[in-house]
């Protein structure tokens, strides 16, 4: 048995059904200690990959959710001002020199570690998930680059902090903005597509073991057909799972038994008004017949 298929089994045990090429990529990530950039539509399970990886490596997951306006203070580090000011007050009486006082208040004791700094100062390599990196401002990429290529962070008052353990870094992007070449270049790359019928079926049955084969097949077939239609918000894997779970709760054993009720459960799949309007009962019935 090869290393790749072994790894694939470990991923499956942690609850993630990965194709063998994805398993190979993830293995490469851990061997080469290079960050991995995952791209793909929303809802294809990019974030889930990082979570699973943390389970497989039995290490903590540190997550940095990016947003427009993310700054150093909330991503890398911040000085604990209040604490520092109190320390200054307390030191007023003991006649230490100004230099040593300054050294004291700018020591690690007063440093608040934010995700990026936290990730490189842990005892055990964590998985660092930088989620939706494309939402962060372009200027902020410089900070990512420093962490991702050298695994170090410079803090003016303290000097450069080098990684004690290198984190496994996973970046995800939804393509709201083009990432810089420099960042892309540092990373391994994997494009995550919507799952094939077989893969999605395996995901549904592994997450919801109590579902019967027929319903699982119908659900997946239905969603796969839905994805081919022109929708505002294409349903992802999470939606499939939600829907299947909802159907189970309602004790529905087959889609074709009660089309009315099925219509009411579509809230799990269709997330915009336009999509709701587009999937009328007729359309839904046709999809069910096809999925039969």
């Amino acid at each position: 048995m090869t290393e790749i298929s072994q790894f694939q089994i470990r991923l499956a045990e942690a609850g993630y059904v990965a194709e063998n090429d994805l398993a190979a990529t993830l293995l490469l990530l851990s061997k080469l200690e290079r960050p991995l950039l995952l791209e793909g539509d929303a809802g294809v399970g990019k974030t889930e990959i990082a979570k699973t990886l943390a389970k497989v490596f039995e290490c903590p997951l540190i997550r940095l959710q990016c947003y427009e306006g993310l700054d150093v203070n909330s991503a890398v580090y911040e000085w604990n001002y209040q604490h520092q000011l109190l320390a200054i007050k307390m030191q007023e009486a003991d006649g230490k020199s100004a230099v040593s006082k300054e050294q004291h208040i700018f020591s690690e004791q007063y440093l608040l570690k934010r995700p990026l700094l936290q990730a490189i100062t842990m005892d055990k390599s964590p998985v660092l998930l930088i989620d939706e990196v494309d939402r962060a401002d372009e200027e902020f990429e410089a900070h990512f680059l420093e962490v991702l290529s050298d695994f170090q962070i410079s803090i003016p008052e303290l000097g450069t902090i080098k990684a004690e353990t290198k984190p496994y870094v996973i970046l995800t992007s939804n393509g709201t903005r083009e990432l810089s070449d420099a960042l892309r270049r540092r990373c391994l790359y994997h494009y995550v597509d919507y799952p094939s019928f077989d893969k999605e079926l395996r995901i549904v049955t592994s997450r919801l073991p109590e579902i019967n084969q027929k319903l699982a097949g119908q659900v997946v077939e239905y969603v796969q057909a839905l994805r081919k239609m022109d929708m505002r918000k294409t349903p992802g894997i999470a939606e499939t799972l939600d829907w299947a779970a909802a159907l189970l709760k309602l004790n529905i054993s087959s889609l074709d038994k009660d089309p009315e009720l099925i219509m009411n459960t579509l809230v799990c799949l269709l997330k915009t008004k336009e999509d709701h309007d587009a999937i009328t009962k007729d359309v839904s019935d046709r999809l069910i017949a096809k999925a039969g």
């Binding site: 990529t25 293995l27 000011l85 790359y189 494009y191």
Partner: protein, 396 residues
């Protein structure tokens, strides 16, 4: 060659494993020639990759290399084709088949075909001179097509599908505008500053220790955009595109407003905000009685000033008038209304698509009368000029 690999392939004749590695390095050159971002780091990593994927199972080598060499979706989609072109013996003589491969330069092409140990030396050699090639390769065709599109005058679009595509682009551009404008502002006022005065004030209750810090942050002031679109007959080549532009704008800027005018003025913001395209069209059709007739800009502006001016035009407003300036009304009236508008609004921008044509001079009566009141008079006849608009808007 690493020790691990040597061990793994101990049973293979030395020359074979060396030549395999040579081929592998050759592949990196080949990919670089095709516009992939391949640097020295990849040379190192590919050997470490080979230690666990091995070199004999093509599928595993493919997965490993793909993760290592691709850096965007486009690369990802073309990888298999290039991989097969290089590694499948049958295809080796026809490497230049895809449009991608055509850009491969001859040196790399040669390197791809030779294989063998001397390859590594050749590869090192190629290091210095090749960088420029690596940069331009790849999707150059796409880029230049894009560029051509950006310069095409909107009126040159005759084909229905081209028109659809352009409309789509214009709307997208409008939507992105807000994002880029806010970003630019943020860079200008980078970082937050401590407001010393208020910090000291707050520190009074702690006996002078500034425990509570007060921060000063300049308020973000995006201009409030108001679009007035001329939909008369002389503008018919452009009016639908500008409607899409307006649609993008009102969707991205919550406080933006859009109007269309010909002989009458119609408020279309709500119709444009309608997300369902067919409903939006319906609403617009109802309003469009009299479209594509003559223009009376002066009268329409008067209407605008009377009915909406006080309510929606303030010192933050940038009023954008899109028109070719061919007016059947009285130029003096137009000048008069513009003067009034100017007192209320922050800036007045006039976009005239004709300005992009060679030899056009703004001599039409209406245009002449309007010129003194304009803060910006720009063409808006293609994508490029629309894009430039946002920089100009920020400067105002």
């Amino acid at each position: 060659m690493s020790a691990g690999l040597q061990q793994e392939y101990a049973e293979l004749p030395d020359t074979l494993s060396v030549s395999l590695l040579g081929r592998l390095i050759g592949f990196l050159r080949f990919m670089r020639g095709n516009g992939y971002q391949v640097g020295i780091q990849e040379d190192h990593d590919v050997i470490r990759m080979a230690e666990f994927t091995g070199l004999l199972d093509r599928r595993r080598v493919r997965w490993g290399l793909r993760a290592l060499l691709c850096s965007n979706c486009d690369d990802w989609q073309h990888f298999d084709e290039l991989f097969d072109a290089y590694w499948k013996p049958l295809n080796r003589t026809q490497e230049q088949r895809s449009s991608h491969s055509e850009k491969m330069d001859s040196k790399n092409g040669l390197a791809g075909q030779q294989g063998g140990g001397d390859q590594v030396a050749e590869a090192d050699h190629a290091e210095e001179g090749d960088d420029s090639d690596a940069g331009d390769g790849g999707s150059k065709g796409g880029a230049s097509a894009q560029e051509a599109k950006a310069r095409t005058d909107f009126r040159m679009l005759v084909d229905e599908s081209q028109m659809r595509e352009m409309e789509h682009l214009v709307e997208k551009l409008a939507k992105q505008m807000r994002r880029r404008m806010t970003r630019r502002q943020r860079v200008q006022q980078y970082g937050r500053r401590i407001d010393l005065r208020r910090t000291v004030r707050k520190s009074l209750r702690y006996g002078g220790t500034p425990l509570d810090l007060a921060f000063r942050q300049r308020k973000q002031q995006l201009p409030r955009l108001i679009l007035l679109l001329d939909v008369s007959r002389s503008m018919s080549l452009y009016s639908f595109l500008f409607l899409r532009f307006a649609r993008g704008i009102v969707e991205a800027f919550k406080d933006a407003d859009a109007f269309v005018y010909h002989t009458r003025l119609v408020h279309v913001t709500d119709a444009l905000r309608e997300r369902d395209m067919s409903k939006a069209k319906e609403k617009l059709a109802l309003m469009s009685l009299g479209w594509l007739g003559g223009t009376r800009i002066g009268d329409c502006l008067k209407r605008f000033n009377q009915d909406y001016g006080r309510r929606i035009v303030n010192s933050r407003s940038v009023v954008m008038i899109v028109s070719d300036g061919y007016d059947t009304g009285d130029p003096d009236k137009l000048a008069d209304q513009l003067r009034q508008l100017k007192q209320r609004a922050r800036k007045i921008v006039w976009l005239n698509p004709l300005l992009g044509r060679e030899g056009y001079e703004p001599i039409a009566g209406g245009m002449q009368a309007a010129l003194p009141f304009l803060d910006l008079f720009a063409s808006a006849h293609n994508l490029e000029s629309l894009l430039k608009l946002e920089t100009d808007l920020m400067k105002l």
